[in-house]
Symmetry: C2
Subunit: 220 residues, 2 copies
DNA sequence: GTTAGCATGTAAGGAGTTACATGATTTT
DNA sequence: AAAATCATGTAACTCCTTACATGCTAAC
């Protein structure tokens, strides 16, 4: 503890989450990330590499220096000897450490604005598989109320507006509202599904308990 | 010219565009902006006031110091005399100058990535009323191809993926794709409408020309 | 008389991007 | 042998946010 951890970007979570699935080198990591989140955001190398560096310094990942394959060594050996071992261009594979996994778990447990704001929600959702059911639910609900606040704010502001707007402004409002409403409906479905699963889980546990001879609550 | 103009944030356009409709003071300007663009982004005072300051320095807006209303003067007169005229808290109304209008027109003529990227498209669209038809069309098409690129990129990346994804990742992909596809359809409709209007406009001009006795192109 | 909303600002800093620089490997 | 793609990295910068600081005015 007190390791002066994370500066709270989404990138950190995205990187740790990806490396949790499988070790990767920077270039491919970025491709994966942009394939996974491409509809919501895209990261550049200019942010990715410094992030990896920082994670390395913090001990959350380890770098496996390019293994000396036959090909690499042979090609290198020809004009080596003078450059000690600097300037070696090859893949640097990063792997999550135990601390890294801990940190990832910590980040995935955070159910706050940092999880449901526009920039971060997608990333958090992408790793829901590794998130506790309860936290998932709170994030989905958090996002939903965030969006509903927004709808309220814009709608009441719109209602108070004296001058009527031109057709472009109007069309933008309409499209914006519709998009957000759609996402709210989507969230509603997801929340229902999550709740149903939670119920099923408790029911199963209840069933198991009912089967026990010493059950506390036989009926109810 | 060579006034070392604009650093290219969307805020500048949003402010100039709003002040073009009617003079406003900072506080209300922000409310308007967030009502207009609330579904897409929100600005804070911490960015708005410095922006206004900069626009003022650049001569794109003027500030009308709080007019000395009867109420203000009366209340102030009681304990005035010592504070010369500093620390006066009241509305500061900003108004667009001729240079400001020029600058706004310039910004609205830019049909490039700065107009159709995620952060800026909404703002540009919001002021389409003051944008030339041709520029409008190019921005809409630019945004559409931007989104289509994104769809392509994600879809081909998805197709190349070996391992099949968990249900959350899948659901995120599905929702993301669907949202972007929806926006593309929306853009298609808008583009069609714009084109129809353009055709109507040229037809009218052609009709007018055909009516002329000395028309160059009688048939074709 | 105190909370809530109106009104204006500043300092510090966050989370990235762009543009650049370099070089290896594969494809054409 | 040229072009494309793979691969890693840095410096400078951008645009905006957060948190703070201040004070007026209206409503309860």
């Amino acid at each position: 503890m007190a390791v002066a951890v994370g500066k709270g970007g989404v990138l950190e979570l995205a990187v740790l989450g990806s490396l949790n699935e499988t070790p990767l080198h920077g270039y491919e990591l970025r491709k994966r990330l942009n394939a996974l989140l491409g509809m919501f955001r895209a990261f550049s190398y200019g942010s990715l590499y410094p992030c990896l560096r920082q994670l390395l310094v913090n001990g959350l990942i380890t770098e496996e220096p390019p293994e000396e394959t036959a090909a690499t060594t042979a090609a290198q050996a020809a004009r080596d000897a003078s450059p000690p071992l600097a300037g070696r261009r090859s893949k640097i594979v990063y792997r999550l450490t135990a601390e890294g996994k801990e940190r990832l778990q910590h980040l995935l447990t955070q159910a706050g604005p940092s999880a449901w704001e526009d920039e971060s929600f997608g990333v958090h959702f992408a790793f829901f598989r590794h998130t506790e059911a309860e936290v998932r639910l709170r994030i989905l609900e958090g996002r939903r109320s965030r969006l509903e606040e927004r709808l309220d704010a814009v709608r009441t502001a719109l209602a108070r507006t004296r001058e009527r707007l031109d057709s472009y402004t109007l069309e933008l409002q309409r499209h914006g509202l519709e998009s957000v409403e759609r996402e709210v409906r989507w969230l509603n479905e997801l929340i229902d599904t999550e709740r149903a699963q939670a119920v099923r889980a408790t029911t199963e546990r209840a069933d198991a308990r009912d089967a026990e001879p010493l059950s506390d609550k036989p009926n109810e």
